[in-house]
């Protein structure tokens, strides 16, 4: 057992570190750009030097790197202060789905522009009636010659307002049982009839959107998988959702709350001297450490060319509630000052308040806590699936909130 890289890995890490040190955008270069412009500048720079999406095939703009190389890259990049990415969904979910299901021709056309950051993609899955129960989605597509005509509404689409393309699942046969009547497409977000309306979040931002489709035409050539096979294709997207290992999480963590506890007092002594504070912090440290070493175990598997075990499936279920609880605890430590949310007046420029307000979304996005617990119970522990009252019933006869 040792933490050291193999000789080959160490050489690669050194190469990555050297390139990163020399190429991180300076504040002068980023001046005047909005967050999308900054993200694009950084992505293009990586692409030009052959460091974008390194795990992808070279012909798609990648580097043919191994899974362990990707982890090393993630670790090294997270040690630098780089512009926030707007490509997480495109690179992490849309591209792997395209590479698995699109034609070579299509991949040649679209994937390199994803790698270079020229195009941003979004995921148009969730609907008002289909969130956790994604397959209950209702947005329709009807065949018209070589095209399909789309009508309906998506919701919670992160980044739809700045995206160039999106992947989407549509109902093509309402008379089939719900999973069987779906078909998967990719679409140009500038198509006529698409209307994007930002939704304001409780955190104050507006990063997700309602997306309305009114008689939107999409070519049958942009279908991924067979008609009626949409659920299977969607699973490719969902499987890739939380597959990333080795990146550093931002926001509130053990270090930031520990430091806070040395800055504020309880009973006229630094809060870190308080036994309850120490006990809480120790528990979070142990959780954070457990997640980190889960990652190391997965890396070991990758390093040996094996597939990581299920230990990585617990990351989001542990990490998201932990962020929320730690932010809540931090606000309590700040006492009445915890209520202040102002970059000038708040402790740590409002980072704890921002995480407090953003963390509820982490427990919902990409599969709620409850759905993650179900996945662990069913896929890892092998417990039976929930009993489903809609099984085998034609979709248009399934009871809904409105019936």
């Amino acid at each position: 057992m040792d933490f050291n890289d193999t000789a080959v890995e160490a050489t690669f890490r050194e190469e990555v570190r050297t390139w990163l040190s020399a190429n991180i955008p300076t504040s002068d270069e980023l001046k005047g750009l909005d967050y999308i412009g900054r993200a694009k500048l950084w992505q293009k720079r990586k692409y030009d030097a052959g460091w974008a999406c390194i795990r992808w095939p070279k012909e798609h703009g990648g580097r043919d790197a191994s899974a362990i190389d990707q982890v090393i890259w993630n670790q090294e990049e997270s040690n630098f202060d780089t512009p926030d990415s707007v490509f997480g969904i495109g690179h992490g979910m849309c591209a792997p789905t395209m590479m698995a299901w699109a034609t070579d021709e299509q991949n040649k056309n679209y994937i390199p522009k994803l790698a270079s950051g020229e195009d941003v993609w979004c995921q148009l899955f969730s609907e008002p009636a289909g969130g956790s129960d994604l397959a209950a989605l209702r947005t329709r597509a009807e065949k018209d010659g070589d095209d399909w005509i789309i009508n309906g509404q998506k919701i919670w689409t992160s980044g739809a307002h700045y995206s160039d393309y999106g992947v989407l699942v549509l109902r093509t046969d309402p008379t089939a049982p719900k999973h069987q009547g779906l078909t998967y497409f990719f679409i140009d977000m500038k198509s006529a009839g698409i209307e994007v309306k930002p939704i304001r979040q409780i955190s104050g931002g507006a990063n997700f959107n309602e997306v309305y489709f009114t008689d939107v035409r999409v070519s049958d050539a942009q279908r991924l998988g067979a008609v009626g096979q949409g659920w299977q294709v969607a699973l490719t997207t969902l499987m890739n959702e939380r597959a990333s290992i080795g990146g550093g999480g931002g926001g509130v963590n053990f270090d930031s709350v520990f430091d806070l506890a040395t800055r504020v007092n309880i009973d006229d002594a630094p809060a870190i001297k308080d036994k309850n504070v120490r006990a809480q912090l120790a528990t979070w440290y142990a959780q954070e450490s457990g997640l980190k070493f889960n990652g190391y175990r997965s890396m070991t598997a990758l390093s040996r060319g094996e597939i990581p075990g299920p230990e990585n499936s617990i990351g989001k279920l542990v990490g998201a509630p932990k962020q929320q609880d730690m932010a809540s605890f931090a606000l309590d430590l700040l006492e009445s000052g915890g209520a202040i949310w102002d970059p000038e007046l708040s402790d740590a420029a409002g980072m704890f308040q921002a995480t407090y307000m953003a963390s509820p979304g982490l427990r919902i996005a990409g599969g709620t806590d409850e759905i993650m617990a179900n996945i662990i119970a069913e896929r890892v522990l092998g417990l039976p699936q929930d009993i489903r009252v809609d099984k085998g019933i034609p979709f248009n006869e399934v009871p809904t909130s409105n019936s």
């Binding site: 870190i272 440290y285 070493f293 889960n294 617990i314 890892v380």
Partner: protein, 372 residues
């Protein structure tokens, strides 16, 4: 990156699992819990014959000279089987104390017997209820004899000798002594604990013969390093036990029907079991870190040990109590095995310092690391 056990270590695990499956079923745990024998002497003999007690003892003292990774594997399997033997006292504590502080003469006198399992050691630290510190110790020694009362002492009724922590007016306020337990100045009484599958005693030392172990006035610092190492090995036993509790709960939930379907189809049960899995997995990954730290004698050992210990205590308590809960009324009966992990989890949690004690140690170790 290599953060896994080696092929040989995994083979050792398989061998250990096979051996314990045929020699240490829950029926064995029950026999010791219900009966008068303080431990399964036959199992102990076999375990010693396989060399498990000799694992990390150097070859010059008739040990196997293997690493703490091998010992971690054995610890996890013994924990999984809830083995009713004095392994933790003799191997994780007494052996470690002599390895850490013993003179050449003491090592030659005690280690070969410990390696062979013919001599059983125990560790006598606590003197009453509540946290023990160097300042709270009342057991006192002069140059050759020791007086005081130690309770509870795991395996104190069956051990051949004890490592006794006594007060000292030098250095850090404590010193270690080796006390042979078969002598006039020692009286020992078995005591009842929440887990009778592991025996415990009250040791009364009345001017008993004793020899100093390590330097006078350095006892408390020895205790810290011995407990740090033991914490990792205890944690491995705990995560082994966690798996046992999870498997019991899972098996029962799949077979028990209520309201026309297996209770394993209810989310209240599914999510409970998922949470057990999550806590166990975090604890196990921290144990890997602990195993690495102890096997390389890393500077991070105090942090790694406390991290493994805190998460293993939390995981085992949760797994064992929710296993009882999953069994409904049956879980509350003497007849079912759910009681064993429930008892053992709390025994292991209190044996070498509680959750709160180790949480505090963890933060203290982190503070020290940052100050450095």
């Amino acid at each position: 990156m290599n953060f896994e056990f080696s092929e040989e270590q995994n083979m050792l695990r398989e061998q250990a699992q096979g051996f314990l499956a045929s020699n240490c079923s829950m029926a064995v745990v029950r026999r010791v819990l219900d009966g008068d024998e303080p431990y399964d002497a036959d199992l102990w003999k076999k375990v010693a014959e396989m060399g498990w007690t000799a694992t990390v003892i150097p070859e010059e003292y008739e040990g196997l000279g293997l690493s703490y990774l091998e010992l971690s594997v054995i610890a996890e399997e013994l924990g999984r089987a809830l083995a009713p033997i004095p392994f933790s006292s003799s191997v994780y504590l007494a052996t470690e104390a002599i390895l850490a502080a013993g003179s050449e003469e003491q090592k030659q006198a005690y280690l070969p017997g410990l390696a062979a399992g013919t001599s059983i050691g125990c560790f006598a630290l606590g003197e009453s209820s509540g946290q023990t510190s160097a300042a709270s110790l009342t057991t006192k020694a002069d140059s050759s004899s020791i007086t005081g009362v130690k309770i509870p002492v795991a395996d104190g009724d069956i051990a051949n000798f004890a490592i006794v922590v006594a007060t000292s007016d030098k250095g850090d306020g404590a010193s270690l002594y080796i006390v042979d337990l078969d002598q006039d100045g020692v009286s020992r009484e078995s005591i009842t604990t929440i887990d009778p599958s592991r025996s415990h005693a009250k040791l009364t030392l009345n001017a008993a013969g004793a020899q100093l172990l390590g330097n006078d006035g350095e006892g408390w610092s020895y205790v810290q390093s011995i407990l740090n190492r033991a914490a990792v090995l205890f944690a491995w036993e705990q995560v082994g036990g966690c798996d046992t509790a999870l498997n019991m709960a899972k098996e029962y939930a799949m077979g028990r029907f209520a309201f026309g379907r297996p209770i394993a189809t209810y989310q209240a049960i599914k999510h409970k079991l998922a949470n057990i899995y999550v806590k166990n997995t975090l604890a196990r990954s921290n144990c890997y870190y602990g195993a690495w730290a102890i096997s390389t004698d890393a500077d991070e050992l105090p942090i790694a040990a406390a991290t493994a210990r805190v998460s293993a205590i939390q995981a085992y308590y949760y797994a064992s109590k929710e296993n009882v809960q999953t069994h409904g009324g049956m879980g509350f009966t003497w007849e079912f095995d759910c009681q064993f992990p429930y008892r053992r989890s709390k025994l292991l949690a209190t044996n070498i310092g509680s959750e709160a004690t180790w949480q505090d140690k963890l933060i203290t170790a982190i503070e020290k690391q940052r100050a450095a």
